[in-house]
Symmetry: D2
Subunit: 198 residues, 4 copies
């Protein structure tokens, strides 16, 4: 069994991204008998989706697990749903949208098909705070979650996909007084538990 | 050099306290050539101060480092000052005060005499979020910080004392969605760095 | 032009609900030439949707504006989307669901068809903090938003509907230290501005 | 009976300050038979204290009530104590201090001598959220609170003085998504209730 695991490059005023570190560390690792292909996506509304679907074609994974940083959240939050909307801040290339569809004519939203309840329960069982989130936002994180689900539907693939947001790591929080954070060790440990549940 | 390091038992609706675990783990450890005496104080306005000053007489420490849990804070916060006031929730024995002096006729407040700026900088240097706090509250944490300083002044000791608040550990946060938390490993690592700076 | 405006009864441990007060106050008021029919819905997964669609049949409104309390939010938040999911706390009748569909076989989500961007901008123009929210949660608020949209689609109505969350009013915040709140006057003023934009 | 009521000019990146508006509005008003002298202080570590004590000499007030903005707080917070410390961000003139005494050789802190418990209870009785705060910070707010108390002690005056922090007003929150805010009407109403209790 192969799992495609993606993270993102740094974005906005943050100079590092824990999910980049996580997917580079776990790349080509075997977790519970599964081979993990870890890839870094650009924070770019134009390119991120195409790069993701290229990786899906290249690796033909049995599951797609997309990771991203949710600065401000204090726990691991598997996302319940991706919505057909791009809105908010500029991406790294200066693209910015207001209330714009990701896919014209696409459905309003796609539920995650990862076992999000089981993931959250397993993390909690290991004393790692986690809860299901009902919004992945309207930035590039939500966009790639939507595009993975849309690609799977169009191509009638029978594989699960979904997005999981991570808290900031300590490096980002040192100079940001209100930002909750975890150590990278905790984030790596949580990611491996997640991959066991897929 | 001997350091008296105290933590607290669980209190309120929280069924564990990371500072109890920390001081029991580090008790009698040698950190940077210093011997640490780790003791657990009761969350009891009547007894905590007397027990603390008894330990100060028994161990004759070269420094007093008091630890406590600040549920809701997202980083290590050395306290700047203790104030002559008891107020707020019931302690574990049902004692409760409103706007009451800890020491009748005592000064309004005592500054910490620990190197709080150096501690914060050293933690940050190790990628551990930390900032100075300007209030230790009006609960038992503030009370023991005030009483340590008052005891040192009355007995003309020349030793530093102060209080350092810790975030919750993950166990407490699993069932409390808005509570930031760290792993116990991170809290232990931070405590040892603090002790090196004393 | 008629607008159906709903609020909710109190729920959970909160003993009042500002949206109940708002809809009772504005009921049968004329706002910018529109007649407002203000109704209170029960916090009951079983009954709220049926009662709402009964009101839609009875009043045949030109627009449906659903209000609810979002305790913890600090501003007026028009919701972007309702999702096909019930989850979370018990309602007032003891009904409780985990990850359950509102409508079996229904679409994953429905976007609001209210002019949410224009509403937010108009409120801001009047110095009233407002922003679009990307989640109405998975409680009865989200449920009635979903059911209004589903009813409109099934019956091929050509009317807009959507949900707008309100901050707590001051009464609820007096005894809850971390709860942001506004005066009822501010909430009423905001509601009338919203109704002008429909 | 005369009351000196001060607020502050705007500071940091905030382009208005509700306490400036409040003290200008209430200036020379009679509240419950007391005459209020409302004055605006500069956010300047060098000048604020001297200007305040000049006003105290000029108006010879029976009480000194200092107001300031606490952006981020969600309620009216009478401060319990001022501490002998300047620290933190630059003031409006570029003065910046780290862990520096306000008055060399002054006491570590001064308690408020306003009836802070009665003020908080009276506000709550009027459905206005309020609680006592245990830190006025280490910026110019804390500094003028400390300096008023120190001046009163040096000159053996028998008048109460203290500081009360206010939430942001709505204008500041429109463009700042996480900032709680109240209307200026609510802030003015609260101030008049406070003045009745002095």
């Amino acid at each position: 069994m192969n799992i495609l695991l993606t993270g993102f490059e740094p974005f906005s005023e943050l100079d590092s991204n824990p999910t980049e570190h996580i997917v580079k560390t776990i790349n080509e690792e075997a977790v519970a008998g599964k081979t993990i292909f870890g890839k870094v996506l650009p924070v770019d509304f134009q390119l991120a989706g195409a790069m993701l679907t290229d990786y899906m074609k290249e690796y033909n994974p049995d599951a797609v697990v997309l990771l991203g940083l949710a600065a401000g959240r204090n726990r691991i939050t598997p996302e319940r749903i991706a919505i057909n909307c791009m809105d908010g801040d500029q991406d790294n290339e200066g693209n910015q949208y207001t209330d714009k569809k990701i896919i014209a004519g696409g459905p309003d939203a796609y539920f995650s098909t990862l076992p999000i309840r089981k993931i959250t329960q397993s993390l909690q069982h290991h004393s790692i705070p986690s809860s299901i989130s009902n919004t992945a936002g309207t930035y590039v994180c939500n966009q790639v979650m939507y595009q993975a689900a849309h690609f799977i539907k169009l191509h009638k693939l029978e594989i699960p996909s979904g997005f999981i947001h991570m808290p900031a790591h300590h490096d980002l929080a040192v100079s940001r007084p209100s930002l909750p954070s975890w150590s990278l060790d905790d984030l790596l440990k949580a990611t491996r538990i997640i991959l066991e549940e897929i």
